[in-house]
């Protein structure tokens, strides 16, 4: 359900050139172009496919609702994308190798999504692609330094075992 690993990796990876070239670059404003939005939507479909394969029902909070002027409200409510870009607070310096969008959302968020996708038997080409590109940009292997079910000590559980743990907790 996490939103950051869907919205941020395409924004920083596909804006890597301008982010490194310009003093300031707002990934949510000039950095949110139709080609990038098509990729965030496709990446979001991979997330929703994992949810559905594991039996989680809607609402899935599709990221497209964040940008839409009509339809269901997304997490921050109507018009929040406009409020965010208008505030100017997000026109900030992003150092690709150090920023939270890379080290949290790409490294930990997508590596976790990839490990859950494997458990669910869902293929996630875009998740894998952003992990590979993020690893190349930062010079670390996100498959090893990220967060996975195995790194949390839960790698031995199948789907039924994991969902029982999530219901009852550790005993």
């Amino acid at each position: 359900m996490n939103a950051g690993p869907i919205i941020h990796p395409p924004l920083i990876v596909m804006n890597a050139g301008p982010l490194e070239h310009f003093e300031k670059w707002d990934i949510h404003n000039e950095g949110t172009q139709p080609a990038i939005r098509r990729v965030t939507d496709a990446l979001d479909r991979e997330r929703v496919a994992i949810r559905e394969a594991l039996g989680y029902a809607a609402p899935h909070f599709p990221l497209a609702d964040h940008y839409a002027a009509t339809g269901p409200e997304w997490m921050y409510g109507r018009g929040s994308h406009e409020k965010l870009t208008k505030s100017g607070d997000w026109c900030e310096r992003i150092v690709l190798g150090q920023h939270r969008y890379m080290l949290e959302d790409t490294r930990m968020g997508l590596s976790f999504l990839a490990s859950v996708a494997r458990l669910a038997g869902v293929s996630t080409p875009l998740v894998d692609a952003f992990l590979a590109i993020g690893s190349a940009i930062t010079g670390q292997d996100f498959a090893k330094t990220g967060r996975t079910l195995a790194s949390l000590g839960l790698g031995g559980l199948d789907r039924v075992g994991l969902q029982a743990l999530l219901r009852e907790g550790f005993r």
Partner: protein, 188 residues
């Protein structure tokens, strides 16, 4: 209610400010001792700006002792990047007590990481760990004790670990985020 807010980034300042202005008793724990001393010397307040204007939020305490911040809190809020969760979990583990609710926004499955760390530390109190999908504030600090909030989360899908404690956890979290929490099952 008494709420402990952990750390001192954008999300923590937005959280502590909003909760204090809503009438909750807020204690803030920060790792950085110098930042704690500065914040206490400045009166343990937060200048919070939003679409309604500027407000001064008074915190009950700003402390470098995580145990002091957490003691007696019904809710412990941990609004940090996922890569900070493991260290915080270790520090938090001995201080959590029966019935407390730890809320991790955003989660990245951090609720289970925290739950596992606390369990493995030998603290077997009945504790609920919950997570939601995003930081409930679009916020940036504009100074050491000043934060601007551009938007607040209105729909926060929230999962609870373990799911068996969801009713209790969602009731407590719901008092801190009135009308915004939407139950979405287990931590995954």
């Amino acid at each position: 209610m008494r709420i402990a807010v952990l750390c001192g980034g954008n999300g923590s300042f937005a959280a502590a400010g909003d909760f204090a202005l809503a009438g909750h008793q807020v204690r803030m724990w920060r790792r950085d001792r110098d930042a704690v001393a500065d914040h206490c010397a400045a009166g343990s307040t937060i200048q919070l700006k939003d679409f309604r204007g500027q407000h001064t939020a008074s915190l009950e305490q700003v402390t470098g002792e995580i145990g002091a911040a957490v003691a007696g809190a019904e809710l412990v809020l941990c609004p940090t990047p996922a890569f900070a969760q493991a260290d915080i979990a270790e520090r938090l583990a001995p201080h959590l007590a029966e019935g407390q609710v730890v809320f991790v926004p955003p989660g990245t499955f951090g609720s289970v990481l925290l739950g596992r760390t606390v369990w493995q530390s030998g603290n077997h109190a009945r504790l609920a760990f919950a997570e939601t999908s995003t930081l409930p504030w679009l916020a940036r600090k504009h100074g050491p004790h000043e934060v601007q909030i551009s938007a607040r989360g209105k729909h926060l899908p929230t999962g609870v670990f373990p799911l068996a404690l969801a009713d209790h956890a969602l009731e407590v979290i719901g008092r801190a985020f009135p009308g915004a929490i939407e139950p979405c099952g287990d931590a995954l």
